[in-house]
Symmetry: C2
Subunit: 278 residues, 2 copies
């Protein structure tokens, strides 16, 4: 038995492409509907409640497109909206926090895990809870590093600007003695070369959610008999609200094969004024 419906994946910006890349690699036979909501999620801090409403609106849209499972490929949206989404929708929904948290809890040898993320994700404490759920004996240090998102979005991920920002953010992490660092934002895997320079010879293992989330999706499809499309050439459809050039720039950097041209969409959510974001 197989289920040929697509997997829905969405992100606020370009970071979710790191998750998409892993999903394509690990589940090459699955159709994917990828939605990048660049219009509603400019990377400014928003109140949790607003992120939650936007997340629910997009999942509603994807569920209406006959997806069999939805991945919230964004840490901030997972932190703010995963619980509410699971209370509201029957379709299986996967966030990116628990998979990375479990990988980190397993990876650490000295029981000290640091997490860098946006301010919204840090405030939610979802990483702390997910890591302690995996192993309550692990200590967690959270650090907000929102400037790293701008650096990636500006195309400066592999520059001296990135090195300087990472040195600054990671000083506390090194001083605290973490042996495991979680990249708690889907943008951050794009900083891997700069991260390696800043970490240098320190014994710090870097964990991101992209690979572990894709592995999680594979297992969930399997357990629930939702695996599909075996044999057929899998289709990737990309929907983008807002500026498609910003999307294309990161997509070109990450993917060897060009992605299909994105379809511009207008999402039926009220645009949120920046003045309201506090």
């Amino acid at each position: 038995m197989s289920d040929s419906r697509p997997i829905g994946v969405f992100d606020s910006g370009v970071g979710g492409l790191t998750v998409l890349l892993e999903l394509r690699r690990q589940l090459p036979a699955e159709d994917v509907l990828y939605l990048a909501d660049l219009a509603h999620f400019p990377d400014v801090p928003r109140p949790q409640q607003q992120v939650r409403e936007l997340t629910l609106g997009i999942i509603d849209l994807l569920a209406g497109m006959d997806t069999k499972l939805v991945v919230i490929a964004c840490n901030t949206a997972s932190a703010a909206g995963l619980h509410a989404a699971r209370e509201r929708f029957e379709i299986p929904i996967v966030g990116v926090i628990a998979p990375g948290a479990q990988a980190a809890a397993t990876a650490t040898r000295n029981g000290r895990v640091a997490v860098i993320s946006t301010a919204g994700t840090l405030a939610s404490q979802e990483y702390l809870h997910a890591i302690k759920e995996a192993n309550p004996g692990v200590s967690v240090l959270g650090k907000a590093a929102p400037e790293l998102v701008d650096i990636v979005e500006d195309g400066d991920a592999d520059t001296a600007r990135a090195d300087a920002a990472l040195s600054d953010v990671l000083a506390d992490v090194f001083a605290w003695g973490a042996d495991t660092l979680v990249l708690g934002c889907t943008h951050y895997p794009l900083l891997r070369p700069a991260l390696q320079r800043v970490i240098g010879r320190r014994r710090v293992r870097v964990v991101d959610s992209a690979e572990t989330t894709a592995a999680r999706v594979r297992r969930i499809l399997d357990v629930n008999r939702l695996t599909g499309g075996a044999g057929a050439g899998a289709v990737l459809e990309v929907l983008v609200s807002g500026d498609p050039d910003r999307f294309a720039m990161t997509a070109d950097r990450l993917f060897e094969e060009p992605l299909p041209a994105p379809t511009a969409i207008s999402i039926g959510l009220p645009p949120v004024s920046l003045a309201a974001a506090t």
Copy 2:
């Protein structure tokens, strides 16, 4: 290397004894400090915030008694206080919800899990989230059944009164088609004989948290190199605030060997007036 400090276990009432029984069975070499706070947790619905404060106060007390790990052996207190406790204390803290939830997500064949619990536990939605975290493809039906606690506390667990109450509570569960039932309150395992009568020949698997929580504690001690006391006769110390007779009645029913005489304690928390509970 071994760690001879005791495990701390606490409950609001007598239900936690079902968890204690399993801990003694699975970890016979571990010292245990068991605290039953009968004075502060009479089984009336309390606001979440109040349960959280009481939970934090008791963990503070147990941490001060040099325990190496604390088990919140009560679903209502786990639902209200586990997250806050993990944010506040460095000592590993284990709740009873996730272990039972994971066992249920693994046990179900048709993807329909029902959970009976107190009203506070249901309102928290912690079971729904823990089950969907284990497998987001599982559907969850929650039912509050607070009257079952009174039945157990009154010593009527194996009577026609219990059968009638369970028939009433489980009618929806049977109609919905659940193949797995989680006993989401540590009192409920005492109702097993009545449950078996009411379930009859229906194919419904019953999962409780006592066994899975003890297994979880064993694994956490192991992973974090906190296992202790190998060889020595393990000591169980029992502290009870409030009415020791109520405690002794259930203890006698559950344990073949008599438990040590409880030490009466007065816990330094302000008694909460019933009038304030809404």
